[in-house]
Structure formats: C-alpha cells, structure tokens
Symmetry: C2
Subunit: 190 residues, 2 copies
C-alpha cells in the first residue's frame, strides 16, 4: 500500500508539481480513502522526503560501489556516467521531482536532502580529483567540472524517450565521448 501511495505521489508531483497535487488525489489514484493515507504517511511532505531520499541514496550507493570496485579513473568515469544516465532515465519522474522540488521541502527536511546531494557531488569530485592527480584527466576546477557533468547527465531524463530514436546505451556512448574527448577534433586541440 505504501508503494501504491508513493507511486501515485510521484505521478502527481511530477505532472502538476508538489504544491498543485492534493493529497486526496494521491489517495484516489492509489485506490484508498483519503483518510486512510494517514495510516501510512503523516502528510504530503513526508511523501516528498521519502521520494527524494530513496532516489538520492540509491544514486549515492551505486556511485560509492563504482569507486570501490574500480581504480582506473577512465573506467570509473565511464561507469559513473552510465550509472547516472541509467538511473535518471529509469526513474525519470522521481528525479524530476528531486531536481525541481527542493524549494518545496520544509526547512527541517532540507538539510538532510541537501546533504545527500552534497555526498553525491563529493563522490564525483573524488573521482575527478584522483583522475587529475594521476595525470589522466585535464587539470581543471574539480567542483565546477563535477557540477557540469552531473547537470549534463541529469538533463538526459528531460528529453529521453524509451520509444525514441536512440537507446539508453547509445546516449551513454555519445555522452561519454563528449565528456572525455570534447567537441573539437584531436588535430585541432591545443
């Protein structure tokens, strides 16, 4: 029942936004009485926090796993790009909520969700810093590059369609190429 409620909340928050999605509509789509929803979640805010925390913990754990499994910076980068794009295309509505509803969090819930996001950025920064120190990646601003790559791979979720022209795997290959080699052909590089 909790899963049905969560799924209904994801659908309505993503379609109308957190503030425009009434709890009674969430109950209706989940197939329960509006009053019964309170047996599972104290309020709408608790649903938002659980949706965000679940996805972000999942993202963090999978990137931690990649960093533990692999030492080669290029292998780590390839795996981290693929992981981010796969999760964001698989849980498209959930991550859309993560990306647009931070401001809808009550002040007491915000630090926890922001700390999960910080953790993810720090894991990416560790990956990038190590690659730069090893002379594999171009030396650059670790923070700015981490934000850039995360933004790039997150946006895939906004336009990717499973029934579209490209598979997730083809998109991953294109993004890896852009991030590792850039746009310019090698003989133009300085």
């Amino acid at each position: 029942m909790r899963d049905s409620i969560l799924a209904a909340a994801v659908q309505l928050f993503a379609e109308y936004g957190y503030h425009a999605a009434p709890l009674r509509d969430i109950a209706r789509i989940a197939g329960i009485q509006a009053a019964s929803i309170y047996h599972h979640y104290p309020n709408k805010q608790a649903l938002l926090v659980e949706i965000m925390a679940t996805q972000m913990q999942h993202l963090n754990q999978s990137l931690e796993h990649i960093l533990q499994e692999h030492q080669d910076s290029l292998v780590r980068l390839d795996a981290a790009i693929a992981n981010h794009i796969r999760l964001h295309t698989m849980y498209k509505a959930e991550f859309f909520i993560v990306d647009t509803e931070i401001r809808a969090l009550d002040p007491e819930n915000r630090p926890y969700i922001l700390s999960l996001r910080d953790t993810y950025e720090q894991l990416w920064q560790e990956l990038l810093r190590t690659g730069m120190e090893q002379g594999i990646f171009r030396t650059s601003d670790v923070k700015v590059v981490s934000y850039a790559i995360i933004a790039l791979c997150t946006e895939v979720a906004t336009w990717f369609k499973p029934e579209g022209r490209l598979t997730v795997q083809q998109v991953i290959v294109l993004y890896r190429q852009l991030i590792t080699h850039g746009l310019l052909l090698p003989d133009q590089s300085v």
Copy 2:
C-alpha cells in the same frame, strides 16, 4: 508599473513556484492594490508567459546575432557558450522559471513557448552541424550534443553566486575547455 509587477512575479514564482505564488502577494510586493493588477495583466498566467517569452526571445536573438556575425565554428562556439552562461547568470530567477514551470503553462500557451525553445535548439544545432561538416568538431549526434551543451550551460545558474569564488568569466573559460577539449588529456585520446 508593468516592470514592478513583472519583477515581483519573477521573485515569487522563483521562490515558491508558480502555483504557490498568489496574485495578491505579487501586487503587494509590486506596491499596488490587488485589484489594480488587472489593469496591467489579465491573470497570473499572462505574467508567466511574458516572463518566459521575454527571456527566450532575448536568448534566441543573441544567438542568431552570433551566428550572423561569425563564420568560424570555434569562435561561434566560444561566443555561444559565453552568451548562454552570461544570460543565465544575469537573469537567474527568470531562467529558473523557464526551466521549471513549462508544465504550469495553460495548454493554449504551451506551443508558443515550446516553439521558442525549439528555435534555440535549432540555432545550436546549426552551429554544431556546420562545425562537424567543416571537420572542426568531432562528428556526433547533433541533437544530443545540442541538448547536452544547453543543459550544461543552463545549470551554471543554479549554483553560480556573484559573490562566490569564481567570476562569470572564469566559469565561461572552464566550461569552454570542458566542452571543446573534454576531460581526458590529449595524450590519452584515441
């Protein structure tokens, strides 16, 4: 007076979201009576459309100008990256609304705003296609690369702070480097 109303709407839509920002609060911040707002805008939706259309037209016109002024693909790319980042850091709240409130548009307003976004993507695609045909850019999927670059340069607005560690110009240099050369050092390139 229209400018004050627009500025108040930008502030409240960006802070609370379109649906959570009442018209009477917009009037209060603009310093007019709630009823007087209707002399300038028929409804809240008209404010949203004007905020979005103004910024997107500005973005499109500046990129059209760059493509007309320059023929060299690398110069065009550098100018287009700088233009996007400058506008998105200068009109941070406005572009946050553009990026998060498309779903708040009434069905009759959506096609116009989406067509402005399509135009911007098409201008980027023209820039990229020309560079690939000239053998300056690596051949890739023009659409995917356009979405990727736009996403990357848009996200700057979410974390950039004018009083922060980096100037807009420094961020532009870092992003240009990442987009043109990628992460990998040249001697690692295949």
